[in-house]
Symmetry: C2
Subunit: 346 residues, 2 copies
DNA sequence: AGCTAGCACTCGAGGTAGTAGAGTGCTAAA
DNA sequence: TTTAGCACTCTACTACCTCGAGTGCTAGCT
């Protein structure tokens, strides 16, 4: 695959038409089909010459000599880069999106869960959502709740997200002591991030006597864990059956790998974070993905704002996905989502 | 398919051997293969006669005249019923299970999430878990947390599970009023189920003045929702890539339907609840499942005890799953799981 | 009465051969 | 530089054949 020099206008038009056709049919496209499709105004022979040239440049492949050409990753990349910056959305889709976000009150997690369903209904691809990192989110309340033999550290963030850890308190701690520490925590942690709260707890532990010392150091450990998990725990998937339904994933092994990757939260995290790195929207095509399991797939993702933090949503489909539709859907949903999530915190 | 009369000993042996072989190879089994397999002590001709008879009785099908026989659902059913009541577990598996449950402290949801991974690693099938219904679980703490414009109703159950709902309080409610109600709630809801708490809130709302009346009636609404969602919200899946990897699901459409069903929490709920209805373990084979989407699959599931409530875990695999292995794994994990969850609440 | 060896029969899997047609690259003329 | 024309290539499809796995049935044996 050679370096991607600038394409002539005509090459670009031909490439665009070819990719469009290939996305629709999934069959290698021949020069004749291109000539008779929308007005390129040149004969099939000319197109043949251009196709040979495009192939040499690494944009196309030929399954065999007497077949048409299929796009390479590079071709999809050019195609996507040539798409209009703000593609139009069908009315019915716009309506579905607006309707969804008019719905009942819910917290960020609920909204995101719903968003994945919305996105996969709109696009017929699998969809992903990554909640804004709670690392930057302030704690609204933190407390200890005694349950039988164990105790629960409960942390409520300003976004309405809740995280919790079981901790094992020393047997000699009385209910009153625990309640006292809980009340002190609630006051001093409010408005801080989990990481800062951890430091506060650790420091106070250092200066305290047992059992308070023991309790606070367990709390600090749990807060470390909460801080670390703050990103990973809130990954949502929707419409994964669309992957199994997608005929472009014709090899069993491909299918398996994709499902395996989607099941690893850490993988989804990386995928979404990289794909949504560019505002307002990013597309990762085939081998542009760092994970080999996703080399047969493309990801269209967009970040959304939530207070200071950033979340992201996206869809996963085959290389020959309908990029136009996916981009407009993801983009429109991300915009509405930003608005909805921002509204939550004001 | 005729009624399943009692099988002669020889028919039963032949059937068992055939199913075992078919599970291993996935190919229709012929009389010769059966004769040369483990000691039935009769010739292939005799076996042929028996096979013809078993086919007439509805236990076997023949893809075409010159092929061997494959088991029907009925054959799998007999096979499973013939399996030893308490199948043995391999040492390595027992060790993996014990090791898993020795792990760190976690709440019911975390344990179940981990359990699905454990089960699908052990069996190479997809696995499901359904948390014990919170309908019967007592509330350990309930409170209102103000977040910007909205307010969060937070409910912590004795099992360590947490549920929450955003509610929209009347603008005229002061922080003090909300705090007062929150404190009163915490005291009066402790030890009650969500449904009972709802009644308490509703009744108190009837006797109160605005804004308390408004607040309490919103709380009652949210509690209704929490009570309703108490079962549905805690469904866990693991190892779903195993479904895509399973070559027995050779039709695209089958694969799609299974993924679609597993994505519907309500479907998984029904599936697990029905399959795990019989203690210590239940098996639903193909068309025994109520959902047509699952007619190409089997479910092995077991209930586990959690205080008064019952949860369940299970695996989903092809009709020709290795029932022996699946049953022993599910059973062993369910037993350990019961112990681990019970330990949490004492 | 039940079992089994033997055998004719059936039918799909897999190989070979031939054909149609889609698509190409090249050449020569406009 | 473009294009009509054409020879060439290669797959998909079909028809046909053969092989062999597996059957059901019959006749004889225990």
């Amino acid at each position: 695959m050679k370096a991607a020099r600038e394409l002539s206008d005509r090459k670009a038009s031909i490439l665009r038409a070819l990719v469009r056709l290939y996305i629709r049919t999934g069959e290698p496209v021949g020069s004749e089909a291109l000539a008779s499709s929308a007005g390129l105004g040149v004969s099939s022979a000319t197109i043949r010459n251009e196709l040979a040239s495009l192939e040499e440049m690494g944009y196309l492949t030929q399954p065999h000599t007497s077949a048409g050409r299929a796009p390479t990753d590079l071709a999809y990349r050019s195609y996507v880069d040539m798409l209009p910056a703000r593609p139009r959305l069908r009315d019915s889709e716009r309506k579905a999106i607006v309707h969804f976000f008019d719905e009942a009150l819910a917290d960020v997690d609920d909204i995101l869960r719903g968003t994945t369903h919305l996105l996969s209904r709109l696009t017929r691809y699998a969809s992903l959502a990554l909640a804004p990192s709670q690392r930057e989110t302030a704690i609204a309340r933190a407390e200890l709740v005694r349950l039988g033999t164990v105790t629960l550290l409960l942390v409520v963030f300003d976004t309405g997200q809740v995280d919790k850890r079981l901790i094992d308190l020393p047997a000699e701690a009385t209910d009153d002591e625990v309640d006292g520490i809980s009340r002190a925590m609630t006051d001093s942690f409010r408005g801080r991030t989990a990481a800062v709260a951890r430091e506060l707890a650790a420091e106070r532990a250092r200066r305290a006597e047992d059992p308070e010392r023991a309790i606070l150091s367990r709390v600090a450990d749990a807060l470390t864990s909460i801080d670390e998990a703050a990103e990973a725990e809130h990954v949502f998937l929707g419409g994964v059956a669309n992957i199994a339904a997608e005929e472009a994933f014709n090899r069993r092994e491909t299918l398996r790998q994709i499902y395996e990757a989607l099941e690893r939260e850490s993988a989804v995290l990386v995928l979404l974070r990289e794909a949504a790195a560019n505002a307002p929207l990013g597309v990762m095509i085939g081998r542009e993905n760092r994970m080999p399991e996703m080399w047969e797939a493309s990801v269209v993702a967009a970040p959304f704002a939530a207070g200071g933090a950033i979340g992201s949503i996206g869809v996963v489909g085959p290389l020959r996905m309908d990029y136009g539709a996916a981009i407009s859907a993801v983009r429109a949903v991300a915009e509405r989502l930003s608005a909805a999530v921002e509204a939550l915190s004001h």
